[in-house]
């Protein structure tokens, strides 16, 4: 049968954000896929170099709207390690509390999106309604629903009162009850299970070799979680388990996220009940000592990495962000292969893509002499044409 290339995106009803997928199909079956990025680049890393560390916290928060706390925590942890600051216990606990509440809200949101892509819109409406409860809790704690802005260098900005603690425990009970119901539903409703099981298979070895992260990796049976493997904040003191599934498909990813939400609810309960007393932050210097730091964080979508290089002034010299979605793209291509066209939105939604998070600047490194270069788009096109033997003026990306 003849192979046909079809473009999905950059603007497509199945995609929530602009990304271009070039799918090679043979009949209905996907044979190959190609991901093209760069439609949503905002130049955040460059912008970070011209702002002070305090201003950068709020800039980092705006990398992503769902995991805003992940990016600030990751950045702030790096800066704290550069300054040699020790955050007070209470500050760390509040930071972790917001982190886990964020994970709950992100997974609730994802469950709704997955249900919507699978054609189960009632579940989508119900999960999003219940998600409002956790959004309200975050608003009570931090003063805003989406951009919590609770982190500051050296701790957190707001303390937790007894009234707030009670409200959190109350809200968490409700969320627990609802999630138990959805666990039951998501694994027993025959039409939903039939739609998601066996779709987007990612075998264990492939997940490992393609460096998948987060729930995508854990759904392939690998128990990898930064909170356990390389504990940051005070995760080494908190009892929790890493959730995995062995089915390696979209159903596995649903199960992992549901289990993780239940685990997060337990962590929130533990944190609120065992909140230590004391200060919530230490004073941070405006100028950061010269050096470089790498910070890792388990965001709801997977491992988030920030690299910060400081030069002794109040502005960083370089900030590099590796968002979890970027690490999951190679695995997505593997999942798409031998699937059907109708599965594309579901498979793509199953990695919980945040496309604008993953839009980063590219540096070309020569493997022979390790020279680094920043290239213009025109130069990349020229080199590509040369390597492909294209004539001048012909389309770089023929379709």
């Amino acid at each position: 049968m003849k192979k046909i290339k079809i473009p999905i995106g950059p603007q497509h009803p199945a995609l929530k954000e602009p990304i271009s997928l070039r799918i090679t199909v043979e009949g209905e079956v996907i044979k190959d896929a190609d991901v093209r990025l760069g439609y949503n680049h905002r130049g955040i890393e460059k912008l970070a170099e011209s702002r002070t560390y305090v201003q950068n916290i709020y800039l980092m928060e705006r990398i992503c709207g769902i995991c805003s706390h992940s990016h600030t925590t990751c950045f702030v942890q790096g800066v704290e390690s550069l300054c040699g600051l020790e955050v007070p216990k209470r500050g760390l606990f509040i930071r972790m509390l917001v982190c886990e509440l964020e994970r709950i809200h992100s997974h609730y949101l994802w469950l709704g999106v997955a249900a919507h892509e699978a054609g189960f819109d009632s579940l989508f409406m119900y999960t999003w309604r219940d998600r409002e409860v956790v959004m309200d809790l975050l608003e009570i704690i931090s003063g805003n629903r989406v951009h919590y802005a609770i982190n500051t260098i050296g701790g957190v900005r707001r303390d937790l009162s007894e009234v707030q603690k009670e409200k959190i425990l109350e809200g968490i009970q409700f969320l627990k009850k609802r999630m138990e119901y959805y666990t039951n539903l998501g694994t027993t409703e025959p039409s939903f299970v039939a739609r998601v099981s066996g779709v987007g298979i990612l075998p264990k070895e492939k997940a490992m070799s393609l460096c998948a992260v987060g729930p995508t990796l854990r759904a392939s049976g690998i128990a990898s979680d930064i909170r356990k493997d390389d504990p940051y904040a005070a995760y080494d003191e908190i009892p929790f388990s890493v959730c995995t599934a062995t089915s390696c498909d979209v159903l596995g990813r649903v199960v992992v996220r549901i289990k993780e939400t239940m685990e997060s609810i337990k962590i929130v309960e533990y944190l609120v009940k065992n909140l230590p007393s004391g200060e919530i932050k230490v004073r941070a210097p405006r100028k950061v000592k010269e050096g470089e730091a790498v910070s890792r964080y388990e965001a709801p979508r997977g491992e988030n990495i920030h690299y910060i290089k400081s030069n002794g002034t109040d502005k960083p010299e370089r900030v590099k962000v590796r968002a979890p979605t970027l690490a999951n793209y190679p695995a997505t291509i593997e999942m798409l292969k031998s699937g059907f066209i109708a599965d594309i939105p579901l498979i793509f939604a199953a990695i919980d893509p945040c496309i604008c998070c993953a839009e980063r600047f590219v540096e070309v490194i020569d493997t022979k002499n390790e020279n680094t270069q920043v290239l213009t788009m025109a130069e990349i096109k020229k080199r590509y044409s040369k390597s492909q033997g294209l004539k001048k003026g012909s389309s770089v990306w023929p379709l």
Partner: protein
Amino acid sequence: MKLRPGAFIPELLKHLFKKPATVMYPFEKLNIPKDFRGTPVLKPELCIVCRACVRDCPAFAIEIETLSEEEKKYKMTIHNDRCIHCAQCVESCPTKALFMDDGYELSTDSRRKLKIAYVYSRPKKTAQQSSEK
């Protein structure tokens, strides 16, 4: 894992007799929590023109102009169209001259209407205050 056809139906039927989850917004409003980060407001009598807020604002939304050096007259402009409501200015302010109110209905038909200017003189130190120090 045992499959149950129609597992969702009891929940759906239950919701037929429940009130809607949403509120009729312009007529009915949700409660705003305490310490909600609304819009920044200045108490001009407390400002000492240290410019800490100008330095720390991530959106460059605060501007302080000197109107007259002798009279110590200043003009602070808060650009609410640029403000990202992070409340860093409130935290940076050493005299607590800035605070966040609970206003969230900011939409207008023009950007210019969102600009708020305060003209004030820096409080001169009274004899009593100087002696306290």
